[in-house]
């Protein structure tokens, strides 16, 4: 996960790769989100010990 905020041009190319055409004006609030979120995701990755496996899309019954 990259900690630095990505450029608008980079974001446009990533969006285009997924079939979404985005104007720069649409991306300005997105950059604000990512500036906070990406470093937090980076920190989260450091916190999770190696042996922990994913919870799964739906949680199992409580006694499982």
């Amino acid at each position: 996960v990259a900690a630095a905020p990505p450029s608008l041009a980079f974001l446009q190319s990533v969006a285009a790769g997924q079939g979404v055409r985005v104007e720069e004006a649409d991306l300005e609030p997105v950059v604000s989100f990512l500036t906070v979120l990406l470093p937090e995701l980076d920190e989260l990755e450091q916190l999770v010990p190696a042996g922990v496996v994913p919870a799964g899309l739906f949680l199992p019954p409580p006694d499982a």
Binding site: A15, Q18, V30, L37, E43, V48, V52, P54, F58
Partner: protein, 464 residues
Amino acid sequence: VSVAELAQRLRAHELSPREAVESFLQRIAELDPEVNAYISVRPEEALAEATALERSRERGPLYGVPLALKDVIDVAGARTTAASKILAENVATRDAHVVERLKRAGAIILGKLNTHEFAYGALGTSPHFGATRNPWSLEHVCGGSSGGSGAAVAADLAAATLGTDTAGSIRIPACFCGVTGLRPSTGLVSNRGVVPVAWTFDTVGPLGRTAADCALVLETIAGHDPEDPSTLDVGVPRYSNLLAGGARGLRIGIVNALFERGIDGRVAAVVARAVEELRGLGAQVGGVEIPFLEQAGTIQQAMQFPEATAAHLRWLRTRLSDYAADVRARLLVGLFVPPTAYVTGQRARRLFYDECRRVFERFDLLAAPTMPVLPPRVGEETVELDGRPIAYRLTLIRFNSPWSLIGSPVVNLPCGFVDGLPAGLALVGRRFAEATVFRAAHAFQQATDWHDRRPGVAAASAPI
């Protein structure tokens, strides 16, 4: 009048289903132009359903009770707009699973309720259908995303309502509107026929005046649905038969961190007094620290952003300009969260879930403020905290994401006022321990009258 009282009067023929429907329709016509809780009302259909009920011999537990649904829940033949331009003319061809169950129990659907666009925001201010106003102060938002569901209960525009909750969307409007609302355990209620936000966290739940009302509605809509793989066949007790028992002996853990930081001190004080009330009723109350609590918001966002974006990808490609700016921004964020972060979120969720399971070995319930701040004014997206403006969206994540992550039941209980606006206590239970949550909530409401307070707009005339 509560759902239980109304159902009893209807069964005793003191009131006919048609009279009940007419009464609520009249009130909607009088008050909803100000509140804007409804996106669509179905007067002809509701009256016809009432007449058909009167002619039948069926007397279900919700016989003739008029309810209303957040407009992300399908009712066959009615529009499901999700308060969006994109689905503005979308007519459902089949009832959602929860609607099938409500109708089988004899409930009558008055209409569809306003929401934040696509249930993806916590203000309840769709630009396409207008903001829902808080019945306690029409200048303030009602919260969201199930804003219409909270406001309709507060203003007596339905006997009870259904909302949906991904990251607080039942609890937040229940808190801001001063009503009771329950986010059920994930896997208890089917999401079939409901517009998704993020499959991992989405759940349908009730909002009503009391915990007893919510229990009656929940026991009607809960249960395994073979068409929704997220539901589990865990058995659904009659919650309304399990309300008694009081709070004595229940072990309640106060989530200290949520009373100490990131919260309006006046709200914290009101909620702390509510916890003391439960202690006075015999609960054993003690403080608790939960590891990774501060990461819970990030964990949920790691999954929620990509899931919501995946659900909307076809419209992001073709109708991007038709979204409101705030929802468009949130949906675009999901394009840029790395796939590895989604998996990290799932792994961190396991970690947090296991920590909470250990906490629940020592406690039956956890107590926390439902919301840390008062509702913003309509048109504003910041609130003041510790004398400084802060984005409203950022205040609520710490208080709501932890309980969504672990799939636990959470009830909001009205417990006081600050500046004339409601504050709420959140009681969190073990997964599928709704009965314990309702038992404590009912004990609190038997001992207090916060849930009986009505806003000025609702006091003008009684619905029935």
